[in-house]
């Protein structure tokens, strides 16, 4: 069997606002416009990914929050309605997705072999979280590739960002090993924002872009710092900065998604491609792609 491969790793932020502004048929609310810099960024990502083929998409989501171990979707098909718990006015999305259960089990088992606490999620009534759905929709709206859904073990909350780093580094390595053994070509999505301090009020028209900006300047400085490191291919330096980024910018990298992604890609020194940056209700969001095959925009 051919050795499997991670074809690309992507930071794919999941604010429900960007699906809302796209007006897909699956989402009940409709918008006039909004968050175009991010939506155009996703468009560039989709164009870039057209030059490669892959079998499955692995999505790590901060909004499937587990306090005991890392969990993996383990049911072949999910069809239901996802209503955002924070922004139900913007995101009520009817989803129909397939899971690569075989790959899911392989990553789960490999991570367990390396000492992590893991669990397969086998309940067919389970509702897939909106972080998985938004990243999946914006990257591949046709939903024609099976996914692997990985939960966020809330280690930063429970222990510290340093403990999270250790565990998610192991999870990333286990993901890489399992993919290589699977013989599949796989796309990785780390579904998260960068700085993550929200506004605590919402404008009457959510897509009123005259009201959208970063929550505070210090967050912006941090976002630019980590983006520059990505663009320069300094992923090891970025890895070591993640705990400070979490503390200073309330970054959603507390979820472990970025640590997992960098470790799974084995800390590429190739510069990443920034497809777009924008704020959503005060948080900083970037669409960033590392191409690990020969094609792509990088």
């Amino acid at each position: 069997m051919t050795q499997g491969k991670i074809v690309a790793g992507v930071i794919a932020p999941h604010p429900p606002h960007i699906v809302y502004a796209e007006n897909p048929a699956q989402n009940e609310p409709t918008a006039e416009c909004g968050w175009e810099t991010l939506r155009w960024g996703y468009e560039r990502l989709r164009n870039s990914l057209e030059s490669t083929d892959f079998d499955s998409i692995v999505i790590f989501s901060p909004h499937w929050q587990t306090y005991v171990g890392t969990h993996f979707l383990g049911v072949e098909r999910f069809q239901s309605l996802s209503v955002d718990p924070i922004f139900p006015n913007l995101f009520r999305y009817h989803y129909d997705l397939h899971v690569d259960v075989e790959l899911s089990e392989q990553i789960c088992n490999t991570a367990a072999d390396q000492g992590l606490v893991t669990k397969m999620m086998r309940n067919p009534d389970f509702r897939v979280d909106y972080g998985t759905i938004v990243a999946g929709h914006m990257t591949r709206p046709a939903w024609d590739k099976p996914i692997v859904g990985i939960s966020s073990h809330r280690l930063t909350n429970y222990f510290s960002a340093d403990v999270m780093q250790r565990h998610m580094h192991t999870l990333g390595k286990a993901t890489k090993e399992a993919i290589e053994k699977s013989g599949k070509r796989v796309l990785l999505l780390a579904s998260h924002s960068l700085s993550h301090r929200h506004f605590t009020t919402e404008t009457e028209l959510p897509e009123d872009m005259s009201k959208e900006h970063i929550s505070n300047h210090s967050q912006y400085l941090w976002d630019m710092k980590v983006i520059e490191l990505m663009r320069q291919g300094k992923t090891k330096e970025l890895f070591h900065l993640i705990p400070d980024f979490v503390e200073h910018a309330v970054a959603e990298t507390d979820s472990g998604a970025l640590t997992w992604l960098l470790a799974a890609m084995d800390f590429p020194s190739k510069p990443a491609t920034l497809h777009g940056y924008g704020t959503v209700i005060g948080t900083g969001n970037a669409i960033v792609e590392w191409r690990l095959d020969e094609g792509g925009a990088s």
Binding site: W64, Q65, T66, Y67, V68, G69, H71, S80, L81, S82, V83, P85, I86, F87, P88, N89, R92, V117, K119, M121, R122, N123, D125, F126, R127, D129, S151, R154, N157, Y158, H198, F199, T200, T201, E202
Partner: protein, 318 residues
């Protein structure tokens, strides 16, 4: 009196889904049944539920959908089973609560969407204490960014709405005491409180609440958060809401119906009935705001005080 009694209830699903897995889970289930019977015998018009397991960002959210229905699965304990539900919500009260909150400077919104994900804690509690939907409920989120002033004012808005509609409520918070879960899968038969430290803090809380010292517990919330809670949010706020709604005093008779470990957390079913005399008021030193004036920007110059973070002395302009 708009609130006739109060309860602190745990929100983990084991007492509902697997009460037989551990004798302690069974005792929690029995305690929920006791609460169910007490509520059925009460003259309450509404169950007012503040859930620490429903986080919100855009202020507080108030469930207003008259008859939400779904099949719920917990995101952590999904292997224990699915929970179909159909609840009755006091939509009229929910809307008035929203209005009263706005008048007090708070950001709130009502939630009336099919399929909205009601949290595990609220689902478990309503299934166990109000199985026939005999009394309508109003369910409230815990705003992750709120601190004490905002939470206290939110409770006062509830009181005002209840009084205006002439309704008597049972006030309920959904929360464990200590909330540290074991970090590996355990046989439920071997369940125990996560650590001796958590156990000691739980016992302290139980001692206070048995004595009816609700306001004292509320005043100690910051310390409890620091010592016995995983810091998912910026503070342990449920006691602020409960104490404020119930009158900001210690005149209660507390009953601990059960206290048991569930996956390492401290789960207690506690009832608070109004009493004629108060336990000692030892811990009161925080104010009781009536309106929320917003967050103060401590980094930028303060217009009202002419101060900045660089001012050497309070009151010195920058």
């Amino acid at each position: 009196m708009s609130t006739i009694q109060g309860y602190i209830l745990p929100g983990l699903p084991q007492p509902l889904l697997t009460p037989e897995a551990n004798p302690g889970y069974g005792r929690l289930r029995e305690a929920f049944c006791t609460v169910r019977d007490e509520i059925a015998a009460s003259k309450a018009d509404v169950l007012m539920i503040y859930s620490t397991m429903w986080p919100s960002v855009i202020g507080h959210q108030i469930l207003s959908r008259p008859n939400p229905q779904w099949t719920h699965v917990d995101e952590l304990f999904h292997d224990l089973g699915s929970i179909p539900y159909s609840f009755q919500i006091d939509s009229e009260l929910a809307h008035l609560y929203h209005q009263k909150s706005k008048e007090r400077g708070l950001m709130t919104r009502t939630i009336d969407y099919h399929g909205f994900p009601i949290d595990t804690g609220s689902v478990v509690a309503l299934k166990l204490i109000n199985p026939d939907n005999r009394i309508p409920a109003v369910v409230l989120s815990s705003n992750v960014y709120a601190d004490r002033a905002e939470t206290v004012v939110f409770a006062k808005a509830a009181k005002e709405a209840l009084e205006e509609q002439g309704k008597k409520a049972i006030a309920i918070t959904i929360s464990t005491l200590s909330n540290r879960l074991h970090q590996e899968w355990i046989d439920p038969k071997d369940d125990r409180i996560h650590s001796q430290k958590d156990e000691e803090w739980n016992q302290k809380l139980l001692e206070f609440l048995r004595a009816g010292r609700l306001e004292d517990v509320a005043q100690l919330s910051r310390q409890i958060h620091k010592e016995a809670r995983v810091h998912k949010v910026n503070n342990f706020k449920s006691m602020w809401w409960l104490a404020s709604l119930m009158g900001e005093h210690n005149r209660y008779a507390g009953t601990v119906h059960a206290y048991e470990p569930v996956s390492g957390t401290g789960c207690a079913v506690i009832g608070l009935q109004p009493a004629n005399s108060a336990a000692r008021d030892l811990e009161f030193d925080e104010s009781s705001p009536e309106v929320f004036a917003g967050d103060r920007n401590v980094l930028a110059p303060s217009v009202s005080h002419g101060m900045s973070s660089q001012s050497p002395e309070p009151g010195e302009g920058s």
